[in-house]
């Protein structure tokens, strides 16, 4: 009787479950299956066990992509969030039209199409006559080929990435700032706390859930970095990652194996390795966050 009473509820869930199964569960299961096959998308797939995983892990490009990714994440996530946090504090200190103006200005890069952002930055980074080299030239610094010198390429990307992502994180942090009751700051001021102490002992602890979201989201986004380095290096499926693979990242390597070399089995395996890394990272972040929340 109870089961019959719930039938309409299950029926109402059915469209979602059907779409979820077709467009989410099936591709995952299919991808996982193909990761154990040698498959070029048209010829019959040949079972190769874990060979695809072994080949990827043993490949030079995978090691390079992972090292690049590790360095990139280690810098871009903390730097990006610090910049966003500072911008949010700055915008929060303004009132009325100025607050709106700065918020819109800092958010602009977020809505800029990636190809446009990359084109602008290719111009800024251009050797000899690029804007940045021109400014550096005033101080006697010789021209730097930011996007072609392997020692600067990663940092050039990080600067673009921080520029693009700071606005998005700033808006989220700003929303969090608005929710901090003003009387906390009044009490702190009465107790003689200076601005820095107010930020350290009120703002940051009160923003903890927001910062946790921003950090977690930043990690997940950074792990999937693709479009900006692809465009900055003028990559194609035949040639990607820039000089000596200095801007080669896992998603680019995965795409290249799939659509460049038609090794879809390897590309699927790559996807699952990357997914595993993201899941482990996210789980670790949540475990850490839960402990902090409990405290």
């Amino acid at each position: 009787m109870i089961a019959r009473r719930h039938v309409p509820h299950y029926l109402m869930l059915l469209p979602f479950l059907l779409l979820f199964a077709v467009f989410f569960l099936y591709p995952i299961a299919s991808g996982l299956t193909y990761s154990f096959f040698d498959w070029n998308a048209t010829s019959p797939a040949r079972f190769v066990g874990i060979d695809n995983y072994q080949r990827i892990v043993a490949s030079r490009d995978f090691r390079k992509a992972m090292v690049n990714l590790g360095t990139y994440i280690a810098i871009t996530v903390p730097l990006g969030i610090t910049v966003a946090f500072c911008l949010a504090l700055l915008v929060d200190s303004f009132k009325g039209v100025w607050a709106n103006l700065f918020r819109a200005a800092y958010f602009l890069p977020v809505i800029l199409p990636a190809f446009l952002a990359a084109t602008i930055w290719r111009w800024i980074y251009a050797p000899s006559f690029g804007l940045l080299n021109m400014v550096l030239g005033w101080f006697g610094v010789p021209s730097i080929s930011f996007l072609n010198d392997t020692s600067t390429m990663l940092y050039a990307l990080i600067a673009v990435d921080v520029w693009v992502s700071a606005g998005f994180n700033m808006v989220i942090i700003l929303a969090g700032l608005k929710n901090i009751p003003a009387h906390y700051y009044e009490a702190a001021r009465l107790d003689g706390a200076n601005k820095l102490q107010q930020v350290l002992y009120i703002t940051i602890p009160m923003l903890y859930p927001v910062l946790f979201f921003v950090v977690t989201y930043g990690f997940i986004s950074a792990l999937q970095v693709f479009d900006i380095p692809w465009l900055l290096t003028g990559s194609s499926f035949a040639n990607y990652g820039g000089r000596q693979g200095a801007l080669l990242f896992p998603v680019m390597d995965m795409m290249g194996r799939g659509f460049g070399a038609l090794k879809f089995g390897q590309a699927a395996a790559y996807g699952f390795i990357l997914t595993a890394v993201i899941v482990i990272f996210t789980a670790a972040m949540f475990a850490f966050g839960k402990r902090r929340f409990a405290q």
């Binding site: 048209t42 040639n239 038609l262």
Partner: protein, 422 residues
């Protein structure tokens, strides 16, 4: 009895409406994928004219044209082949041909090609047809538009450097001397030729024999020879202090040329509309000449073709007819006249009205000397690592990390390992 008759009639009807070659009378919509610049402005208008003419001659046939970016074309065609959802007629570059064959995206059109009148087959450039025909009885594409690099010269920059612009440089030595004069005048001579695979190939073509370029797929080895390649690497070393540091494809490179900061740009004719517009808007003074070779009378530059492929399947016959229609001399003449772009239809290129167009005339001449970018076509796909190794090596030698001789020797080793899949 009645039921049996009904079933028999239903079977006949089912067979009649089932698969089989689409006849002109069958209502069918062909998907036609082109490069995005073919689906914009005047090019699109002309493509739509071709489509309208073909549709009028083939009642029931509709053509849906879609413009795609380079990578989108390849991914769409590969995934389309995998999912059975290929466009019926599509473009791509010759260099991606082997990949598309491997993916099962290209129909073998040899029988259809041979069934065409001799007069039709004779229209096409023989080398271009050979590129589409990797072995007997096998043909994977119709060569369509194409290019051979030419040397765009900024005349204002050259004159400011004290160079006589009335005669193009006769060989590399003279060209290099001009580059040095340009640099001495405070301008950039060339883009950085090490950054893009095609510009490395282009530089190799100045000094290297064509047979020393590409992959020997049977032997699984590169055809690059250290002796000839070292000479090309020396050119990168020589050009390094004279270059703008931007790649030949960068927007910044075109901007430098337009603003009279860059003297030479070796590239295909597709930049001409931009430069022609700048000539109108800002008085840019430029011309285009053949790329000088190592010796007087020799010329360099790379060449390639965009191809028209036909997908295997029930629409293959009518799709072939459409491909043959758009690639035919009459249409290709109109295309060339409108856009001043070289194509693989030799008969169209010989049309007096087309042949007199300066850019076409120069391209027709240049293509005789052109180096194929990734030969041999339709035999094997270049491994992913190949292009990257070539550009990294050229940059490393240009930066002085290796001598040209060392760089050439290490390149051959690395390319062989890449081809072998190590």
């Amino acid at each position: 009895m009645k039921i049996a008759r009904l079933l028999a009639s239903a079977s006949v009807l089912a067979i009649a409406f089932s698969t089989g070659p689409a006849r002109a009378a069958d209502p069918v919509t062909l998907q036609y994928w082109v490069y995005s610049d073919f689906a914009q402005g005047d090019a699109l208008k002309l493509q739509q004219e071709f489509i309208a003419e073909f549709e009028a001659a083939h009642p029931g046939v509709k053509i849906a044209i879609s413009g795609k970016g380079d990578d989108d074309l390849t991914t769409g065609e590969v995934t389309g082949a995998a999912s059975g959802n290929l466009p019926d007629v599509f473009m791509n570059g010759l260099a991606f041909g082997a990949q598309l064959v491997e993916a099962g995206a290209l129909d073998n059109i040899y029988a259809k090609w041979m069934a065409m009148p001799q007069a039709f087959r004779d229209q096409f450039d023989k080398d271009a047809i050979a590129s589409c025909t990797p072995k007997p009885d096998t043909m994977y594409c119709l060569p369509y538009t194409g290019f051979n690099e030419i040397l765009f010269r900024n005349l204002t920059v050259l004159k400011a450097a004290g160079i006589d612009t009335t005669v193009p440089p006769k060989d590399w030595a003279e060209w290099f001397e001009q580059m040095k004069k340009v640099k001495a005048a405070g301008k950039f001579a060339m883009p950085d030729q090490t950054q893009v695979f095609n510009s490395v190939a282009s530089t190799f073509s100045v000094v290297g024999p064509h047979e020393d370029w590409g992959i020997d797929f049977a032997a699984k080895k590169t055809k690059v020879k250290p002796e000839s390649y070292a000479k090309a690497l020396q050119l990168f070393v020589d050009m390094k202090p004279l270059s703008s540091g931007t790649s030949r494809n960068d927007q910044a490179t075109k901007d430098l040329f337009i603003t009279n900061q860059l003297a030479f740009h070796v590239i295909g004719p597709w930049v001409d509309p931009t430069y022609a517009q700048a000539a109108k808007d800002s008085g840019l003074k430029y011309d285009f000449v053949l790329v000088p070779g190592a010796k007087p009378g020799a010329h360099a530059g790379i060449k390639s073709y965009e191809i028209l492929g036909v997908a295997p399947g029930k629409n293959a016959e009518i799709a072939w007819q459409f491909a043959a229609y758009v690639a035919e001399a009459k249409q290709m003449s109109r295309w060339a006249k409108l856009l001043s772009r070289y194509n693989a239809n030799a008969a169209a290129m010989a049309d007096p009205e087309v042949a007199k167009l300066p850019l076409i005339a120069r391209s027709v001449e240049a293509v005789k000397y052109g180096l194929d970018v990734q030969p041999p076509y339709f035999v094997g796909a270049y491994p992913n690592c190949y292009n990257q190794i070539v550009t990294d090596n050229a940059a490393a030698v240009a930066d002085g990390n290796e001598t040209p001789a060392e760089g050439a020797a290490s390149l051959v080793k690395e390319l062989d390992a890449c081809i072998a899949g190590d």
